[in-house]
Symmetry: C2
Subunit: 347 residues, 2 copies
C-alpha cells in the first residue's frame, strides 16, 4: 500500500479570491512543499510556512499524516510543478509550475509529464495505490479541464473556501478558453491537449500516474474531490477503462450535489468517509465541519484506509497530535523537536 | 527511525579497475539510481540495470531493503550527484555528479551541498538516523579526502573488489593532489576545501547531513565502511564533537585492520555485524563471505538495526526473497509484478 502525493502549483491560484491557501502569496507558493514535508516527516522541515488558513483551518495534510502514523503506509511524493524547495523526497516526471490559465499555453510541461507519470505509474510495484494532490487553485483548473473534455456531468468543482467563488471561477474558465485554441468539448479523447491548454501540472501527473497504475493491474484509489474526479475523466479520455475508486470526505460530498452521478458516469466506485470532526474534542478541526478546506493532500483516501483498518475512531486524536506538533502548540518545544511519530513498525 | 541513503556519482569510478560496480559504464552510472529504487520499492522501477557484479555478487542495497521489509523504517534518499534519473523520491541539496579527481576542481558543488545538507540534517525531526551511501569509486575519493584532512590513522580505504587495487588508488590520489592546490594535511579544519578539491559529492552530502543531525541532538549511525569513516572525519573537522556510531559489516571489518583504531580516534562507537552469509542457504550472498562488495547502501547500518530488533537471523531469507524479485528469478513473473513486500504495518 502506497500513498502518492502529487504536489505542485499553478499561477491561477494567484487570482484574488480563488483559493483558501492563497490568502498570502507566501502561503500559496509554499503550501504544496509544506504539505509534502508534513506527510513525509510529520512536520515542516524546510518550508517556511505552516499551512493553516486565515480562519485557523489546518491543512488536510495533517489528517493524512495522522493516518500514516496510525497505519504506517509507504509514501511517494511526485513533483507536480513545485515552485519552492521541499525537504520531502520527490520523484520528478518533468512537471514545472503551471501558468495562469487566462494566459496562452499555460502548462507546456503537461503532455511530457503526463506521459512520464503514466510510465512511472505502470512501473510501480504496488498492489494498490492512493493518489492525492496538493495544488492551490486546482479546483478552477479542474473545472476548465472537465469542460475541455466535454465532461459536463459535474456542473462545477468544489472549493477550499466555505463560499465557493463560482462566478469568479466561471469567469476564469471562460477567459482560459478565450486565450486558448481549444473550445469546450473539443479536447475529448485528447487529455494532454486539455491539460496543456487549460489545466495544471498536478492534474497532468495525477492522471498519468492513475492511468499507468491501472494499466499495469494496480488497484487505484483516487483520494480527493473534484480534482481527482477530473483526473479520472482524463484517465478515461486516455482510453483506460479499468474501474477505480474515488475516496473522499463527507465535507466534500456535502458540497457537490452531483458527485454520485459524476462518479458513476466515470465508472468510479465512490467511498465517502466522515472523520467526525464536528464532535467534541476536535478543536480546530471543527473548521472542516464548517466547510473550510474539505479535502486535499489525499485526506479522503487516507480516511478510507483508516476506516478499512478499523482505526477511523483514532483519527481525531492522532490528527490533533500532528497539528500540535506542526503549529508548535506543545508545552515543551525542545522535547517536541525530537519526538515525532514514526510511520514504520521497526521502532 | 529513518535511514538516509545518499546516492550519487563521481567520474573517478570510470578509471579502469577502481570499482566493482564499474565493470560496465552502464552499471557504473545507473547503480546509485537503481540502489535508491531498490530501497524505496523493493525492485528497480526506472533504472535499466540490476546491480549485480560480474561475478554475481548482488548490490548491498538488497540487504538494506530486506531489513526495511522486516522492520519497516522510514527512508529518505538524498541526491548526492546522481548522473541518471531514478524513480525513487529524492531530496536535492544542490549536489551534481562529481568529476574525476585527477582533474582540477572536480567537485564544485561540494561546499554548497555540504552546507545545504547540514541545514537539512539539523531540521530532520528524527531521534535517530542511519546515514548510508551508494557511489561507485567512493573509496578512492574517501582516501584522498582523509589525506587532505591529514587523518592518517587509516592507511588506506577498503574496496568493493576482493583484491583491493591499492597501487592504482594510490596513483589516483597522488594525481589528485598534483592537479589541486591542496596538499595532504592542508585541508585540516576545512572540510569543504577537501571535498571540493579531491572528494566526491556523496561524501559532501553524507558528512553535511551527519554534522547537522548531530548538532540538533539526533543520534547518528554512520552505516557503512571507510567512506563513512571519512564522513566522520569531515564532521570532526567541521567542529562537531558529538559521539556517533559507525555500524559496518564483518566483511568490511575483516578487510580494514586499523578500523578499530581509526574509529576510536574519531570518537566513534564501532558496531560490527555479521549477517552470516557464509552459512548454508545464503546462495549468491556467499560472494560477500568471499570478500566481494563488503558494504554499501547502508548495509552495515541496516544489519545493526536488525540485530537490535532481534531479527538478524531472518535477514538471509528476506534478502534472498528481495534478490529473487530484483533479478527476476521467480517462477511466475506475472505474479511477481504485484507481490512486493510492504514496509509499513498498515497493510
Amino acid at each position: 500500500m502506497r500513498v502518492i502525493l502529487v504536489a505542485g502549483t499553478t499561477r491561477t491560484a494567484e487570482i484574488d479570491g480563488i483559493s483558501a491557501a492563497g490568502a498570502s502569496r507566501d502561503l500559496l507558493v509554499h503550501t504544496p512543499s509544506a504539505d509534502a514535508e508534513i506527510l513525509a516527516y510529520g512536520d515542516t522541515v524546510r518550508a517556511p510556512v505552516t499551512p493553516v488558513s486565515p480562519t485557523g483551518c489546518p491543512t488536510p495534510a495533517v489528517v493524512t499524516r495522522a493516518v500514516r502514523e496510525l497505519l504506517g503506509f509507504d509514501l511517494t511524493v511526485v513533483d507536480g510543478g513545485l515552485a519552492r524547495p521541499t525537504g520531502a523526497p520527490t520523484v520528478s516526471v518533468g512537471a514545472r509550475p503551471g501558468g495562469d490559465i487566462r494566459e496562452p499555453d499555460p502548462v507546456q510541461t503537461a503532455p511530457g509529464a503526463f506521459v512520464a507519470a503514466r510510465r512511472f505509474g505502470r512501473a510501480l510495484p504496488d498492489d494498490r495505490v492512493v493518489v492525492g494532490e496538493t495544488v492551490p487553485g486546482g479546483t478552477t483548473t479542474a473545472m476548465a479541464v472537465l469542460r475541455a473534455l466535454g465532461e459536463d456531468a459535474l456542473g462545477s468543482t468544489s472549493s477550499s473556501l466555505p463560499e465557493n467563488p463560482l462566478d469568479l471561477k466561471e469567469r476564469v474558465v471562460e477567459a482560459a478558453f478565450e486565450s486558448s485554441d481549444v473550445a469546450p468539448g473539443r479536447a475529448a479523447h485528447a487529455p494532454e491537449t486539455a491539460l496543456r491548454a487549460v489545466g495544471d501540472p498536478v492534474l497532468a501527473v495525477a492522471a498519468g500516474l492513475a492511468a499507468g497504475a491501472l494499466e499495469s493491474g494496480t488497484e487505484v484509489v483516487l483520494g480527493g474531490g473534484t480534482q481527482l474526479l477530473a483526473a479520472a475523466a482524463l484517465v478515461r479520455h486516455a482510453g483506460v477503462p479499468d474501474r477505480a475508486t474515488l475516496a473522499t470526505t463527507s465535507y466534500l460530498a456535502a458540497d457537490v450535489s452531483e458527485l454520485e452521478e459524476a462518479a458513476a458516469a466515470l465508472e468510479l466506485d465512490l467511498a465517502v468517509t466522515d472523520p467526525d470532526f464536528d464532535a467534541d474534542g476536535a478543536g480546530p478541526l471543527t473548521a472542516y465541519a464548517d466547510g473550510v478546506a474539505k479535502e486535499g493532500a489525499g485526506m479522503g483516501g487516507a480516511l478510507r484506509l483508516a476506516d478499512e483498518a478499523g482505526r477511523l475512531g483514532a483519527v481525531t486524536e492522532a490528527t490533533r497530535a500532528v497539528l500540535d506538533r506542526v503549529t508548535g502548540d506543545d508545552a515543551d518545544d525542545a522535547a517536541r523537536d525530537k519526538s515525532r511519530g514514526d510511520t514504520g513498525d521497526g521502532r
